[in-house]
């Protein structure tokens, strides 16, 4: 079998909260099952055909990097949206979640264009939403940490990823967290969301494999430690 190709968006600019951890988890959970992987790092200005990717991943960065990334991302809009509509599994966190919506208005009032995969708009707020976060989703209860000032409003037709159990989520008021469209997931659970949420990691891997052979079943792994860490994190205070 050809290796599973993980397209990693802007690893230099969008990686401040340990985002690379998600790539490590995808790689290892494949390797432990005998599935080979290939990481395609996608840098600013570099050509890439998303039709060849099996999973797309992108994280969060500093505000300064976000403008460069927004402009670069717009050039990839068609390919990314088409790939998402074709069912390509994607995980977009924090900064790239925002840029996969329609637009992002910075704290200085500048407007950054987004590719509009998610029916969502984000405005930078004056206070940061920081702390442990727990959310109920179709992939089970997800635990993580959020740290963002962006307030994301979803269109009525745009499904959220989950409902908030603890924390702020999209905007601190709607009780919603993230966005879900086709197999693309946007979320504020930043940095390494996948280590403590192995169900989500396996959803991405299994969806990728089923796009190649529809009857593919993913072999289970011993996730005792993952669940222990998640259970403990779910009991933390904000």
């Amino acid at each position: 079998m050809k290796p599973l190709r993980i397209a990693y968006l802007y690893p230099a600019e969008m990686n401040i909260y340990g985002d690379r951890g998600n790539v490590i988890v995808l790689e290892q959970r494949c390797r432990w099952r005998g599935i080979r992987t290939q990481i395609d790092e996608i840098h600013l200005g570099q050509d890439y055909d998303f039709a060849k990717a099996d999973i797309v991943f992108g994280g969060g960065g500093q505000d300064m990097g976000q403008e460069l990334v927004a402009n670069d991302l717009m050039k990839r809009r068609r390919g990314l949206v088409a790939a998402a509509e074709d069912g390509l599994p994607m995980l977009l966190i924090c900064g790239l979640y925002q840029l996969f919506g329609r637009r992002f208005v910075t704290a200085e009032g500048r407007e950054l264009p987004g590719i509009g995969l998610f029916g969502a708009e984000t405005v930078a707020g004056s206070t940061r939403m920081i702390g442990n976060i727990v959310t109920d989703t179709p992939f089970g209860r997800l635990v993580g940490f959020e740290n963002h000032s962006g307030q994301t409003r979803l269109d009525e037709t745009q499904a959220a990823l989950g409902t908030i159990v603890l924390g702020a989520g999209n905007d601190g008021t709607s009780g919603k967290e993230g966005a879900l469209r086709h197999n693309a997931i946007g979320t504020y659970l930043h940095g390494p969301i996948l280590p403590k949420n192995p169900n989500l990691a396996d959803f991405l891997i299994e969806t990728a494999l089923r796009r190649r052979s529809p009857n593919c079943e993913l072999r289970g792994l011993d996730d005792t430690l993952e669940h222990q860490a998640a259970d403990l994190a779910a009991k933390l205070n904000r």
Binding site: I16, Q62, D63, M64, A229
Partner: protein, 451 residues
């Protein structure tokens, strides 16, 4: 309330808290003073009349501050300095209040303070220092400090058009950028490092041009984003370095470098581990030269310095030895790996990760640590309030480890597991280090545990 009364009350609170056994009285007086008399720091700034050096940056503040004090202390005139950890505004206030007589006058004539990055703007405005050192800016507790560019912007704004001597790390692009437009700026840096960047060191934050945002081109990276660089668009480059180091050897407990500045040259043999301490020494040398000291004298004063509190400190327990190596952020942790844990290091390892406020509540940073490059340790024990998160990280780096959630049990078991005559390494986050030292104080001689 009159200033003198506030100082008396603060002094009284310190005495009381010590009497009641509620800690060592180091934070309380500052807290009391801050509440009762905002602006008290400026009152002391006035007394010190600019004879203040402030040291800030993500890593190395404590060691550099100690080095500067050692190099500047020549017997005439007492230098006031703060202890490790007392580097928030209230810590500075407590240190200053403790030094006053009953008329509210400082005994010291000058001060050398380490200052937390977030407290730096207020400390700078109030104390009006004649010299400032900025060591480096790395991602660190983003839930507390925010993004690096934002932090750098605040530092640049407060420095403004200062006439103070500003000593900057020329090998850190974002720190070097802070010197643009300043009239009295001096840079330190390394031309050669004698160590190789870790293959899994991805903790480079300031790897883009601070002027145009394009990726910087590096001739060589020593670690994180520290190295020799220039902007591909010619918008920015590594500045001319005033105090240049060439490091020829770095070991677990020493390093050897040649130092050059102008026509002066000296050998620097540090009794401290790792490349990061060479940078700390370069910073101390640069600021001390600006204060009128001779390079050869400075090198003499700092080369015998023992490690500071929790920084490569060694504790003997019977025939076993423990070495404490504080880990606070990815770059600091990677430096410990680069120095101690590659090329078949065999020491047993205890790692403790806490998530209290002083550690940072967010433990995401563990995934930026180059655990994949860890080579050698036969046994790793994972502990701390976030032991499970640490264990997960180790699992995904294919490392073998044991989990001991309870910290006192972990330490006890760890000590027992060290073969007689050998050394175990303890890598704690900040509050975990305090806990470890308290526990060790019951069974061994440790240095000053007060903060």
């Amino acid at each position: 309330m009159p200033t003198i009364l506030v100082i008396w009350l603060a002094k009284l609170s310190s005495g009381l808290s010590q009497l009641l056994g509620r800690g060592d009285g180091s934070a309380l007086p500052g807290l009391v003073a801050e509440r009762l008399r905002p602006g008290l720091l400026e009152y002391f700034g006035h007394q010190l009349d600019g004879k203040v050096t402030l040291i800030t940056g993500t890593n190395g503040k404590t060691t550099t501050t100690r080095m500067i004090v050692a190099a500047l202390e020549t017997g005439n005139g007492k230098i006031l300095t703060n202890r490790a950890g007392s580097n928030l505004t209230r810590g500075l206030l407590s240190t200053l209040i403790a030094d006053t007589n009953w008329r509210g006058q400082l005994q010291a004539e000058s001060a050398v303070f380490e200052v937390d990055e977030a407290s730096f703007p207020e400390a700078f405005r109030s104390l009006k220092p004649s010299s400032v050192v900025i060591l480096n800016l790395f991602r660190d507790q983003l839930d507390r400090y925010g993004e690096l560019n934002t932090l750098a912007g605040k530092l640049k704004a407060v420095l403004g058009q200062t006439k103070a001597t500003v000593v900057l790390n020329g090998d850190d692009p974002l720190v070097a950028w802070l010197g643009q437009g300043l009239s009295n700026v001096r840079f330190f840096g390394l031309d050669k490092a004698a160590v190789k960047k870790l293959p899994h060191d991805f903790a480079a934050d300031s790897n883009t041009c601070p002027v145009c945002g394009r990726a910087l081109v590096y001739d060589e990276v020593y670690y994180a984003h520290i190295g020799r660089y220039h902007c591909s668009n010619k918008d920015f480059k590594r500045p001319l370095i005033n105090v240049v180091g060439t490091t020829t050897e770095v070991s677990l407990s020493t390093s050897t470098s040649d130092i050059k500045t102008g026509s002066a040259k000296a050998d620097l043999n540090l009794k401290l581990p790792g490349l990061y301490n060479v940078y700390n020494a370069l910073a101390a040398i640069t600021v001390s030269i600006e204060a009128g000291r001779d390079l050869s004298d400075i090198v003499m004063m700092i080369r015998t310095m023992p490690p500071a509190f929790g920084r490569a400190e060694v504790v003997e327990i019977g025939r076993r030895r423990l070495q404490l190596l504080l880990v606070k952020n990815p770059t600091g942790f990677n430096q410990v790996i680069q120095t101690y844990l590659i090329e078949g290091a065999k020491q047993p390892l205890l790692i403790l990760v806490n998530d209290l406020i002083a550690d940072g509540r967010d433990v995401s940073w563990l995934w930026d640590v180059a655990f994949e490059d860890l080579d050698g340790p036969k046994q790793i024990l994972a502990s701390g309030t976030r032991a499970y998160d640490l264990a997960l990280r180790l699992k995904y780096a294919d490392l073998k480890f044991k989990l001991a959630v309870d910290i006192p049990d972990a330490l006890e078991g760890f000590i027992a597991s060290i073969p007689a005559g050998e050394t175990g390494l303890i890598l704690p986050t900040y509050t975990a280090m305090l806990g470890v030292r308290r526990q060790l104080a019951d069974i061994a001689t440790v240095g000053e545990t007060r903060l």
